[in-house]
């Protein structure tokens, strides 16, 4: 059995269910792997952990990885399996405050935490949809206060991850029917979302380990899709103060919006469309000044993906 520490980008929430299910249902064990899952503190925490070799595999936002590799060319880290085909970047607004469509954002107040991943994509989103940024009043808010501010009506919409912000708002007592979720990927954003990343030094030495890992993850995703409640329970087992229904809901949202997209259902989980990815790189360049020339091959490789029939989600 090979020991393989795996770091998430964030805390143990519903969307982490596939990995826990892969543990609980023995998919990792089938691949002769013993996986220990650690929580993280954002992609920018997970990437260096993998790049330094502290963790051979991790889960992180690929857009952050693009920037990381641009800043640290040659760092031994690369993405090997796309999980969030559509990134969860979204704008969540309230109908009662006049936000029903993208165009309604003009002339409204948008709450955005400056370091927020979704907010970082907002200029691209605005550009693709012809929004005049000067007509949107942007209110800087903190993560902890983002949803409460919307719940209190201090802002009309916020940027955030579709599943997190939406759910938090519901928990804060905002009626579901009052919420508008504008998933940026549905409005011209070509960006991908989170992927499994690996330390390349490790992967080159142990390709079969990585492939085995990815195989098990795909199984986990299938399990989660089949029984979200069980998935949520697997999370709660590690997070004793958690709430099963809530995490199951969060998991369902993630599966439906980000993971099991039409493209994935048609082509299978894990690979990317190079053309779309190149467009994504162009979109990143709207808000980020590249130091070097980004190349798809250093950022993503399909070399470790298991056979494609193993990746089909139907």
């Amino acid at each position: 059995e090979v020991k393989l520490p795996f770091t998430l980008d964030w805390k143990f929430e519903g969307p982490s269910a596939p990995y826990f299910l892969a543990v609980d249902n023995g998919h990792f064990a089938d691949q002769d792997l013993s996986v220990e899952i650690s929580a993280g503190q954002g992609s920018l925490d997970a990437i260096p952990k993998v790049a330094t070799g502290a963790y051979p595999v991790g889960f992180a936002d690929i857009n952050s990885l693009v920037k990381f590799l641009d800043q640290n060319p040659g760092a031994p880290v690369t993405a090997v399996m796309m999980i969030y085909d559509k990134p969860p970047f979204a704008v969540v607004g309230r109908k009662s405050q006049g936000i029903s469509t993208v165009a309604d954002l003009e002339g409204s107040v948008l709450g955005a935490p400056p370091p927020d991943g979704a907010w970082a994509q907002f200029p691209v989103f605005a550009k693709e949809n012809g929004l005049d940024m000067s007509k949107i009043k942007v209110e800087p808010v903190g993560f902890p206060t983002r949803e409460p501010m919307l719940a209190e009506g201090k802002v009309d919409s916020v940027t955030g991850f579709s599943f997190s912000s939406y759910l938090n708002l519901v928990r804060l007592g905002v009626p579901e029917e009052d919420l508008t979720t504008l998933l940026m990927a549905d409005y011209g954003l070509a960006l991908y979302g989170n992927a499994i990343i690996v330390n390349t030094d490790y992967a080159e030495k142990n390709p079969e380990v990585i492939t085995g890992f990815l195989t098990a993850v795909a199984e986990g995703v299938k399990d989660a899709a089949a029984d979200p409640m069980a998935g949520a329970q697997a999370v709660i087992d590690r997070n004793p103060a958690g709430n099963v229904e809530l995490e199951a809901w969060r998991l369902k949202l993630a599966l439906q919006d980000s993971i099991l997209t039409d493209y994935v259902m048609a082509n299978g989980l894990g690979d990317i469309d190079v053309e779309r990815f190149e467009k994504a790189l162009e979109q990143i360049a709207v808000t980020y000044e590249f130091k070097g020339e980004p190349s798809v091959s250093t950022i993503f490789t399909d070399a470790y993906l298991p056979a494609s029939e193993l990746l089909m989600m139907k």
């Binding site: 805390k11 143990f12 925490d45 260096p48 949803e147 007592g173 997070n239 809530l246």
Partner: protein, 256 residues
């Protein structure tokens, strides 16, 4: 007798008054839970998870105490070095101050990367790093402002600096030292929780806080904060007892 009772009653009374004020504030402003939970909301949350509270409190407590212990040792060491040598004082002080002006939260990832996976060690390290400075400062001030008349008593006998430190300087500055210890104890707590929240690894009250956060369970979050406060007070009383034992002489009769 009656004074001992008073010593017990007054803090309790103060706490009760504080809780009532808090409850009233929330009620008066009609604040929702996610803005500020009230004590009456917090209790059920606490009761529901009482087993977890007990377990995690212990996690947090022992790591805090170990970190604090380390801080005492290192802080006293730095304090002695800086207190006895003016050169070392002017060399070390700016470095220590600079180090302390850096938010420890930002160092957490660095530490976590250097000592991968050693959660207990990392937590203790952060608790230590955040809390040793007040002790170093107070000891160094205690030593550098020690009245020469006191030093002379032993100096005249040819005693070494170390002896003077143990027999005169340290006992003389114990009240300040304990004051610093009270500050450091609360800081060490913050350090432990910082690590538990920022670099979660499934243990300690910080983790429980995080769980509460994920679930938007605001009463639970506030309950954790209260638990932290209670632990802090507990630690404080331990320090007070130590102080009574070792530095009781310094307390001046207040009024007659």
């Amino acid at each position: 007798m009656s004074s001992k009772l008073k010593n017990l009653l007054i803090p309790l009374l103060a706490i009760v008054v504080f809780l009532i004020l808090w409850e009233w504030l929330v009620w008066f402003n009609q604040w929702p839970n996610y803005k500020m939970a009230s004590p009456s909301d917090v209790w059920p949350a606490f009761w529901q998870y009482k087993a977890l509270f007990a377990k995690y409190s212990w996690d947090t407590l022992w790591r805090t105490v170990v970190g604090l212990g380390l801080a005492v040792v290192v802080g006293v060491f730095f304090g002695v070095v800086m207190g006895f040598s003016k050169t070392m004082r002017s060399a070390l002080y700016p470095l220590l101050v600079g180090f302390n002006a850096i938010p420890k939260a930002t160092l957490v990832p660095v530490i976590a990367l250097i000592f991968v996976g050693q959660h207990d060690f990392n937590t203790v390290l952060i608790a230590f790093m955040i809390s040793f400075f007040p002790i170093a400062v107070s000891v160094s001030i205690g030593l550098s402002t020690l009245e020469p008349e006191y030093q002379d008593i032993l100096k005249a006998l040819g005693a070494s600096k170390l002896t003077i430190f143990w027999k005169i300087a340290l006992p003389k500055t114990l009240p300040e030292f304990f004051g610093a210890l009270k500050v450091s104890a609360t800081l060490a707590f913050i350090g432990t929780n910082l690590m538990e929240i920022v670099e979660p690894h499934g243990r300690g009250l910080g983790h429980l806080f995080d769980s509460g956060k994920i679930n938007a369970d605001y009463p639970l979050m506030f309950a954790v904060l209260i638990a932290l406060a209670v632990l802090g007070i507990l630690l404080y009383y331990i320090v007070v007892i130590l102080e009574k034992i070792f530095a009781g002489w310094a307390e001046r009769p207040s009024d007659h």
